[in-house]
Amino acid sequence: MSDVAHEMQTSRAIDRSQMQVSDEVAIQITDMNKWFGQFHVLRDIDLTVYRGERIVICGPSGSGKSTLIRCINHLEEHQAGRIVVDGIELSNDLKNIDKIRSEVGMCFQHFNLFPHLTILENCTLAPIWVRKVPKREAEETAMHYLTKVKIPDQANKYPGQLSGGQQQRVAIARSLCMRPRIMLFDEPTSALDPEMIKEVLDTMIELAEEGMTMLCVTHEMGFARQVANRVIFMDQGQIVEQNEPEEFFGNPQSERTKLFLSQILGH
């Protein structure tokens, strides 16, 4: 779990030529509140994400990180405030939800591949049924992204035959097949054995290098330092602190952040 080890794993030269943050707003969250019954899980969230940003969200377990990013593609419903994704406001309008979901890709902690479909079918399902792409074309796109995540030779296997790291890379490829403009990651490496974490992080770094807008819940601080342009710390449903990685790790402002960092970095 040592941070140094992971930093070494991911320490290759990162090509920053395409990693540019533009002024265009990708996601705008204003005054957002969410309750689970009586439980106030997200409080007064304000967050603006610009196109091309790579944001890492961290914080103690139960602080609402997953709930926050799940609100962005409406896997969870917020009760107050506004969420605007790519200029589309998330409301109860099904059309808007559909539009946003096909613009926003998501990867889960437990991959959630469809076990009854082959790797290739996993990747072509949504393009065929949502984007109405011809099968041949969908398969070509799928093979392109499977090659990108370095598992083209597994295309006709079933998810159960792959290792965890391979499955998570398939999950990333599956999302990319919908050609999303934004990617959400919810602890994509925390269910993986240490030796598989690197292959998934490498895939995510490549995505970042291509200029993908990314929101990533993770405790991989090496990844945060190298790739993120902003780190957000959440506690008890609130955004407590956000800063550039260097400042965030070197000079944390709040006591809660300091405590959290000291625990996770193991000093």
Partner: protein, 405 residues
């Protein structure tokens, strides 16, 4: 590795290896079990034959050819009391097949609907389904059969109440009569030209299947999915309706009409059949509802979330992601429910429905005294039927089964 093989082959074969050597152990056990089984069966058969001959009886199926001499109130094939016992058995078997077939269909429909609705977010609907499931699962089937039969015979009007100025009236524009003598529905009358109509109908079914194939192939090629449901519905109804008018209405309906003390014309469904059918379906449907609910719940929530995150709509998610995975959990216990329903239909005797148990296994045995032969034949029938049902369902299951995992 090589040295151990060499060692054992050099030492030769020892008798204790039959029990302790994993290579021979299961063979030994099977051989012993087989020998015991043969011994037991031969004892059973010789004992039975001995006892029968002591009683002055022989083992003979000749009674099947004799005149039955009893009436059967519901027959799917021509039958009179002058027919043979074999024909009476077939009438009973067909009646069993009829109620089992109707029961499996209705039980599946009821069960799937109740199972899905029990997962509904609507509090009232979910509770109602819980009451249905628990109510039917926890009361013996025999009580339900008798209760429904009693309701059908006691709480429904007599045929004479349907007379002019009577208290009862027929349903659905005077075409269906529900009375304490049974339910009367219109019967089709096949006039000249009805063969052509049937051919048109069969062709339109073929056209629907062909269209679906074409639609999916077109989707693969162009990505655009044609509207399958509306086109299928149109293909189902339009050609037949058109042909009906072109052929000058070859098929008409014979409506049940009150004549004397009872209804004449139309199809008569006896209360015994309806009560048995409803009770079997509702009872088995309650179990199927639980199986369906369990199957859907067995698919992890992450599966639908992943599908939603990809932009799939809930209905597509159900069809493409949830159901294919739930099916493999649902089908094996569903097979047992079909088998249960089929065998439970032998409770028909409680309401006087003449199934195989009542004819072959009841009156025929009583009249001829051939219990052993009759029961063997009856057992054989249920065995063959059950094997056919589970065989067919296993084929279906193999097709739905998850491949590599």
């Amino acid at each position: 590795m090589a040295s151990t093989v060499d060692a054992s082959s050099r030492q030769g074969f020892k008798l204790s290896q039959l029990i302790y050597d994993t290579r021979y152990r299961s063979l030994t056990i099977q051989a012993i079990a087989m020998a015991l089984l043969v011994l037991f069966l031969s004892w059973l058969v010789s004992n039975t034959v001995q006892n029968l001959s002591d009683l002055g009886k022989d083992f003979d199926f000749g009674f099947l050819g004799q005149r039955a001499g009893y009436d059967i109130n519901q027959t799917l094939i021509p039958y009179t009391s002058g027919s043979s016992h074999a024909r009476a058995a077939i009438v009973g078997i067909l009646n069993t097949l009829l109620v089992a077939f109707l029961g499996c269909i209705l039980a599946t429909i009821v069960g799937v609907i109740a199972g899905v609705l029990r997962l509904s977010k609507n509090w009232l609907v979910a509770r109602l389904m819980t009451v249905y499931v628990e109510g039917f699962r926890n009361v013996p089937l025999l009580l339900w059969i008798i209760a429904i039969f009693a309701m059908m015979t006691e709480a429904t009007p007599q045929p004479r109440d349907f007379r002019e100025g009577g208290t009862a009236s027929m349903w659905l524009w005077d075409s269906v009569a529900v009375s304490n003598r049974g339910v009367y529905i219109p019967a089709p009358v096949w006039g000249p030209g009805s063969t052509a109509l049937i051919i048109v109908f069969v062709l339109s079914i073929a056209a629907i299947i062909g269209f679906r194939r074409y639609a999916f192939r077109r989707q693969e090629a162009t990505g655009v999915l044609l509207p399958i449901l509306p086109v299928s519905l149109a293909l189902f109804f339009l050609p037949s309706i058109l042909a009906y008018f072109v052929l000058g209405g070859p098929v008409s309906l014979a409506y049940p009409e009150l004549g004397g003390f009872n209804f004449q014309g139309g199809l008569h469904m006896r209360n015994s059949l309806i009560a048995l059918w409803l009770a079997l379906s509702l009872y088995t449907g309650a179990f199927i509802a639980e199986i369906v609910r369990g199957g859907i719940l067995s698919v992890a929530k992450g599966q639908s979330e992943a599908a939603f995150a990809l932009g799939l709509r809930p209905s597509r998610t159900m069809n493409l992601v949830i159901l294919p995975q739930a099916m493999r959990v649902i089908i094996p216990p569903l097979i047992s429910q079909y088998l249960n329903l089929t065998k439970n239909s032998s409770l028909a005797i409680a309401v006087g429905y003449m199934d195989a148990r009542s004819t072959l296994g009841g009156i025929t045995i009583n009249q001829t005294g051939r219990e052993l032969e009759g029961m063997l034949l009856l057992g054989l029938f249920y065995l063959v039927l059950s094997l056919i049902i589970s065989g067919a369902m296993n084929v279906f299951n193999a097709r739905m089964k998850l491949k590599e995992r």
